[in-house]
Subunit: 134 residues, 2 copies
Amino acid sequence: MKEIHYRSDCPIGKALDILGDKWSLLIVRDIVFKGKNTYGDFLNAGEGITTSVLADKLALLECNGIISKGIHPKSKAKFLYTLTPKGIDLIPVLVEVIEWSEKHHDVHPFAKPFVKQLKKDKAGVIKMLRQSLK
Amino acid sequence: MKEIHYRSDCPIGKALDILGDKWSLLIVRDIVFKGKNTYGDFLNAGEGITTSVLADKLALLECNGIISKGIHPKSKAKFLYTLTPKGIDLIPVLVEVIEWSEKHHDVHPFAKPFVKQLKKDKAGVIKMLRQSLK
DNA sequence: CAAATTCACTTGGATTTTACAAGTGAATTT
DNA sequence: AAATTCACTTGTAAAATCCAAGTGAATTTG
C-alpha cells in the first residue's frame, strides 16, 4: 500500500495531495461522464494514459477512498471500478471545473449544452449525475 | 515562453493541462485566501514549495492567463502577482474543493466556520471573495 | 478442447518533473 | 559603503511519467 503524506491541514492542500496530477480526475471523469469502469475502458478513454501510470493511479485512488475495485458481473477476467461516496462527492468539483474551462477555453461542442443546462439548474444536473452512478 | 499542448478538447482535460499538479492551485489559494502576492510570500506560504518549482509555476500560470505579474507599489525589487479574471473565476472551483475536502478529511479548524458559511450562502461568500481581490 | 486472443496488470528503461542546495545581480536597508 | 533582501537561475539528485515489451489467468475461437 502507498503511504499518503499530507503536506498540511489545508483542505485544498489535502485534496491536491490526492488529486493533484494530470490523470486522477480524468479517471473520475471517465466514470461519471462516460460510464467507464474497467481497466481497459480507462486505458482507451482517449487521452492516452500509459498502462503503468493507470495502474498506479487506480491503486492510489482506491487507497484514498475515491474508487473501489469490485468483481465484474460478466467476467472473472475483469474488475469493476466504481466511485465511493467520497468519489461521488467530487461531482460538484468536476462541474465547476467544466464551467470554468468552458468559459475560458475552446472546448468540445458537447460541453456547450451541458454548461447551458448547468446555468439553468445546477443542483438538478448534479442530482441526475449522482443518480446515474447508483 | 512555454508551449501548452492540450491533450484533448475535454474541458476537464484542458483544466488539468494547466492546473493538474501539486502546486498551481496552492498559489491561487495563497492569493485568494491569504492575501499573498509576491515571490517571497509564496515561497514562505507554509507548504514549502521550492524556489525553482515556484519560478516555473508562476511562469506557467502567467503564460496561461491565470495570474499577471505587475509592478509593486512599494518596491522596485518586488513584483506583484495578481489574479486575472480567468484566475478569479477559479474561486468557485476552490470553494467546491474545500467543501469536499472538509467533508472527507480532517482539516484545519479554520475551515469549519468557513464551510458553515458556505452552506448558508455560497453565492455570497464567492461574491465577497471576488470583491476582496479588487 | 487446444490455440489464439483478451484482460489486467508488471517490468525495465528513457524522459520529464520535482526537490534540494547553492549561487547571482539588482534594489533596499543599515 | 557594506550588509541584507529580493526575485530569481543554475546544477544535480530523486521521483513521477512515458514508452515498449512482457506475463499469467480468463475468455473466445476454430
